[in-house]
Amino acid sequence: MNEKHPMDYLLREDRIPHIWCPGCGLGSSVSCFIMALEDSGLDLNKVVVVSGIGCTGRVAGYINLDSFHTTHGRAIPFATGLALANPELKVVVYSGDGDLIAIGGNHLIHAARRNINMTVICVNNFLYGMTGGQVGPTTPLYAKATTSPYGNFERPFNLVYLAAASGAVYVARWTALHLRRLTKSMTEALQKKGFSFIEIISPCPTSYARRNRLGDGLDQMKFYHDNSIIRHGADPKEADIGFQTKIVVGKFIDVERPDYHTFLTEGLAKVVGERK
């Protein structure tokens, strides 16, 4: 495997092949991310990737940027520390739905509320992939998982609505196959100051598809893509996802609000006096 791939320079290639399953959408999302990093024009020495724990959480370990693989659920507060201690950094949190919305849900809503300058990329595979496919707060109603063997009877979160309601200034959702659009959203989010949130609906053939008899990764990819409806500017409230139903995708929110660090330091400057 000495042959080089053009993206290798942004990968820790000595760690490729990665651990993700065949047909998993994670790798595709990372390709888009690498492209977006390029397009963003950012100084890549100042871009930091922070992940929690999970299949998605492994992204930090593959991207050749300063990267932190933290604890389950705590990527956002860890990233908050990075972002505030050195405001020159562009911090990207790349993690899974369970990590960010189940155990990490509180940090998500508070970071969004504060408008911390960070981009959160949440790969939603509808459950906990890494631990073998347990039900989670994004599992669609009636879907099966290892801990909902009779189907899920808990209404899932609509992540884009939750992020928007909490105060994110940029909110988008794509599937892992919306390659160009996803890349564009990632680029916009990277360039945006404040708390941006991108949800990626991604196939998980091993843990999700198998139990629900949805075929392999390719089948899932196709299904999600074919059943998505692009509605830019749609009310995120109306963007619930059911079991194998249509998925509303698009850029839902893109507004201006001063980010936490700017607002704080400018505010303090007025009261305490200019900081050096």
Binding site: D66, H69, G81, H107
Partner: protein
């Protein structure tokens, strides 16, 4: 930064919490994330007021889990960072204290102990988290913990904690308590030049050769910060010298014993105790924190009766001065260990004396410091 507001050189009548905050500022701490809790809130309050003067960032997080994670992140951004809490919050921080230990992230955690378990006695003291400080997170690791017994020591030991934390790349704990935190006394803040501050252990070699987890001879690796172009990877998984996850027994065998040994093998350098009259003592009182002060009073009482009592006051509680305790054990009739708990450090003393001498716990479950006479009695009983 506002001129002259960095180090408030001079004499202050100040409570321990405030002194701790000033110590942090003097040590170069410029990031604080915390969550209010009695009796540690005043540290955060002081910091929130002082940081804007010294260009530090104060953030009040949504909880202690977030606070602990945030100070780790900030430390990796190259900024010295701290949080403070008390028992319940300390419990919540344990998982990420473990991440700090695993990723060798310098940072300081102050636990102003109150009475427990659970919500217990929120406004009054305990010394009941001493073993938790050592064993509170899952997995094997070693930690450094200091125990102040006055506002002045809160100032001094907070600086010491930052220094040790940077030196050994490990979360350092300041294990205060409610009385020390809320007590006001004279605190002398020296001029800046006289304050010894240990800088970050920065990598100095050629960039291409950098291996984030390759240890120096003292078992501690050198550090860089995010944003400096090294493109490091830092993980809570078992990892190799590159910092890459390697999830097998071999990697574990290389990594975890080193994490433990960088403290154990350097213990004699880290350990600090204050001995008083131990040379010709019949009985030794081993104590720490606020209980050390009560112990001194008890020793006065005993000395009036002609009993020769030595004192070992722990400055570092962890690592524990096990060799010295063993040495002393064969010289005295017994150790008296007053603690505001149902017996914690006394277990270590029992272990270290190896049956060579008596060990008596003087236990108080919290809410009040000891009556010195109880300690005095225990001293007398040793000699009976």
């Amino acid at each position: 930064m506002i001129k002259d507001r960095e180090i408030l050189t001079g004499e202050h009548f100040m409570n321990g919490d405030f002194a701790c905050a000033e110590g942090a500022i003097a040590a170069g701490c410029r990031f604080f994330a915390g969550y209010p809790i009695t009796p540690a809130s005043e540290i955060a309050e002081r910091i929130s007021e002082r940081f804007p003067e010294v260009d530090g960032i104060y953030i009040q997080m949504e909880d202690e889990l977030g606070s602990m994670a945030a100070i780790l992140g900030a430390s990796w951004a190259g900024v010295k960072s701290m949080t403070c809490t008390s028992g319940p919050g300390f419990s919540l921080m344990q998982e990420n204290i473990g991440l700090g230990a695993m990723t060798e992230t310098p940072c300081v955690v102050v636990n102003m102990q109150r009475g427990g378990p659970s919500t217990g006695l929120p406004t009054v003291l305990g010394q009941q988290d001493m073993m938790q400080a050592r064993w509170g997170s899952h997995g094997d690791y070693e930690i450094i913990a200091l125990s102040p017994s006055s506002p002045q020591e809160l100032f001094d030991f907070t600086i010491k904690a930052f220094n040790l934390s940077e030196m050994y790349r490990v979360p350092a704990l300041v294990m205060g308590d409610e009385v020390v935190g809320h007590m006001s006394e004279k605190v002398v803040i020296p001029p800046k030049e006289e304050i010894e501050v240990y800088p970050r252990r920065k990598y100095t070699g050629p960039a291409e050769e950098y291996l984030p987890y390759k240890p120096d001879e003292d078992l501690v690796p050198q550090m860089v910060a995010a944003g400096e172009g090294y493109r490091i990877h830092v993980t809570g998984l078992t990892h190799d010298e590159k910092g890459y996850p390697v999830v097998d027994a071999e990697a574990q065998k290389k990594l975890v014993p080193r994490l433990v040994n960088k403290i154990r093998k350097n213990a004699e350098k880290i350990i600090e105790i204050e001995e008083t009259n131990t040379e010709d003592a019949e009985v030794i009182v081993l104590s720490y924190g606020i209980s050390a002060r009560t112990s001194f009073r008890a020793i006065e009482l005993a000395e009036k009766e002609g009993i020769k009592v030595g004192m070992v006051k722990l400055i570092t509680v962890w690592p524990f001065p096990e060799k010295r305790v063993y040495q002393l054990a064969s010289k005295v009739a017994g150790f008296v260990v007053p603690e505001i708990n149902c017996g914690q450090i006394v277990y270590e003393v029992e272990r270290c004396v190896k049956g060579k001498t008596k060990v008596t716990l003087v236990s108080h479950p919290g809410g009040h410091i000891h009556d010195p006479r109880d300690i005095f009695q225990a001293i007398r009983n040793i000699l009976k």
